[in-house]
């Protein structure tokens, strides 16, 4: 098994830490894992993305140049990385911040209004974890329970009060994916 | 009467203008600009004294103020 996940969006969406949640969860399940951010200019703001490789054999290249899954959290990220996904790969995008939609029809695609889902939970910053929940539900790379446990590692102690919200986000994403059916082959908006 | 304009596309919503306006007539609008931020906007332009405080503190060249020169300027 080799999953190469690219999470992309803008700074402040929690892209990097959601990637870490996946990485920690996979490590806890005994898998090989690598997490690599694209680190930006020597300044604040701008785009943020990271690649997470999860494998049952040692990982040679940790770079996610041709992701098996793309989680695109906004329009520019979708546009930039859509073409890179391997044929037949998985594309999850945040329909709250994507207006134009996808151009590739050879991918399994799921559009999730992640901001809205997150706002329902009461914190727009958990939107990326909504996407992760969906990803886990679809791929089963690691269990949702492992991801929930990983939150403890990723969030600093003084932010542990946010664990319940993040857990609900993961669950919400999983629910959306379940509702959308597991074998998504075309475009589906929920 | 003094007039004040905000170039909302440049505004980063930092609220510095809001914090200094003696007339408290600036707020962040509900709108979202192309930076994805809520830009500052005037609530009641008629109250504006043209003091220019908003211009002086704005770090992003968002504000223009038109006013009469003081008599003994």
């Amino acid at each position: 098994m080799l999953e190469e996940v690219l999470l992309a969006g803008f700074g402040g969406q929690g892209i990097l830490s959601t990637g870490m949640v996946l990485a920690y969860a996979a490590m806890a399940e005994g898998l090989h894992v690598a997490w690599i951010p694209s680190y930006g200019p020597e300044m604040r703001g701008g785009t943020a993305n990271c690649g997470v490789t999860v494998s049952d054999t040692p990982i040679s290249s940790p770079f996610v140049a041709e992701p098996t899954t793309l989680i695109a959290m906004n329009q520019p990220s979708l546009e930039k990385f859509e073409t890179a996904v391997v044929p037949g790969g998985l594309l999850l995008y945040n329909a709250s911040l994507v207006s134009r939609g996808v151009t590739r029809y050879d991918l399994r695609t799921l559009a999730i209004k992640a901001n809205e889902e997150a706002e329902k939970i009461g914190n727009v910053r958990v939107a990326t974890n909504v996407m992760l929940g969906a990803f886990l539900e679809i791929t089963g790379v690691v269990s949702l329970a492992s991801a929930v446990k990983a939150l403890e590692k990723v969030l600093p102690a003084h932010r542990h009060k946010l664990i319940p919200a993040n857990q609900r986000a993961l669950e919400a994403g999983a629910w959306v994916a379940r509702e959308a059916g597991m074998n998504i082959t075309g475009r589906t908006t929920v | 009467m003094p007039q004040v304009f905000f170039d909302k596309e440049r505004c980063k919503g930092c609220e510095l203008c809001i914090s200094v306006c003696p007339k408290k007539i600036i707020t962040l609008s509900q709108e979202i600009n192309s930076l994805g931020l809520h830009p500052a906007a005037i609530t009641d332009g008629s109250k504006c004294t043209g003091c220019g405080f908003c211009f002086f503190v704005c770090p992003d060249l968002v504000v223009t103020v038109l006013r009469e020169e003081e008599t003994d300027g």
Partner: protein, 353 residues
């Protein structure tokens, strides 16, 4: 403690702590900032010192002072900052002090950018500073290996009384991987009878110096240094061989690029192209032995670097014209991707087969 997920830059810091290093002097620079951030927090926990110098020039000279006083000491920076340290490194080498310098290379020249790069290879291995000196230069390619090689760097530094360098690129510094960490070992540092610690309890004065005004004297020092480097060249060459059996096309790559190269080798092998990889772990001394012996059976070499072609010279010096040595590289933080390198390799293979 089991496995924990750690950033490369932090691993450099933790590796130092585990090697018994308790003194760090540095100056902030991207993309290695997590290293000083980590040590600023970590050093006080283990009774050590993190001190932010006013510049890289000051930092390397603080290292000189601490090393002279017998400390296990480290500094780290990235390319422009390492350039500023060249005089100091040359001094440390001549004064024969042990110390470790980390370079998390970024795109150059000039201010360049902060993207990952390997374009300070020449500076590291040929001597960026003045005079005939060498540093053992280690190039880890995983986060776990960072921990191991930082420790090795300190050992080599003490063994040879010579500064050692560990190099990575921005990606290695930024990435996270699981590392296995036992409890912090209680490192017993070797006694340093030569250190300038005050004469109390000794009946000789210790002097740390790199000035030898008489050519005869300085030549003696140089001969001693050269003897050390020869000893290193005999003893310290380290490398990894990957699927070299029967390889006709041998890739050579170090650091993060070697991981890409591994993936390339796998891809090529999957398509029945007999490729293999030599990954230098020590950049100096350069592992010419595996290259030379590969040159006897392989048909061609492909050196892959994130620069305009630097290590390729050392490979050519080892191959001595016996086989063609090709080069593929991208500069300025542009990643050499698996796809690109595979394509480059196949092109060579087309001609070869």
């Amino acid at each position: 403690m089991g496995k924990i997920l750690m950033k490369g830059n932090e691993a450099f810091g933790e590796g130092a702590v585990r090697a018994g290093c308790r003194f760090f002097f540095g100056y902030p620079i991207t993309p290695q900032s997590e290293l000083p951030h980590y040590l600023a927090r970590r050093m006080p926990e283990v009774g050590g010192l993190y001190l932010q110098a006013e510049s890289e020039v000051a930092a390397i000279n603080m290292v000189y002072g601490a090393a002279a006083a017998g400390a296990r000491v480290m500094t780290s920076s990235s390319s422009p900052g390492i350039s500023l340290m060249q005089e100091g490194i040359s001094y440390i080498a001549c004064a024969e002090l042990p110390a470790v310098v980390v370079n998390i290379m970024r795109g150059g020249p000039g201010l360049g950018n902060i993207a990952p790069s390997q374009s300070d290879y020449f500076q590291a291995v040929k001597g960026g500073g003045h005079g005939d000196y060498k540093l053992p230069v280690l190039a880890p390619s995983t986060v776990q290996e960072i921990i191991d090689l930082v420790e090795l760097a300190f050992e080599l530094a003490d063994k040879y009384r010579n500064p050692a360098m560990v190099v990575g690129d921005g990606f290695l510094g930024q990435m996270m991987e699981p590392v296995e960490l036992g409890p912090v070992p209680d490192v017993q540092l070797p006694a340093k009878t030569w250190a300038t610690t005050g004469t109390a309890g000794r009946n000789t004065r210790n002097i740390i110096n790199s000035l030898y005004i008489e050519p005869e004297e300085l030549e003696k020092v140089n001969l001693r240094l050269q003897a050390k480097y020869q000893e290193m060249e005999i003893t310290e060459k380290r490398w990894e061989e990957y699927r070299l059996e029967g390889a006709s096309l041998v890739l050579v790559a170090f650091g993060m690029v070697a991981r890409i190269a591994k993936a390339v080798v796998d891809k090529l092998r999957a398509e029945d192209i007999p490729a293999g990889l030599i990954r230098p772990i020590t950049l100096y001394p350069f592992p010419d032995l595996p290259v030379k012996s590969a040159a006897e059976t392989a048909k061609s070499f492909l050196v892959v670097e994130m620069n305009a072609g630097q290590m390729v010279e050392d490979v050519r010096l080892a191959v001595e014209g016996l086989r063609p040595v090709h080069f593929y590289g991208r500069t300025a933080g542009m990643l050499t991707t698996v796809a690109e390198v595979t394509a480059a390799a196949k092109e060579i293979w087309e001609v070869l087969k």
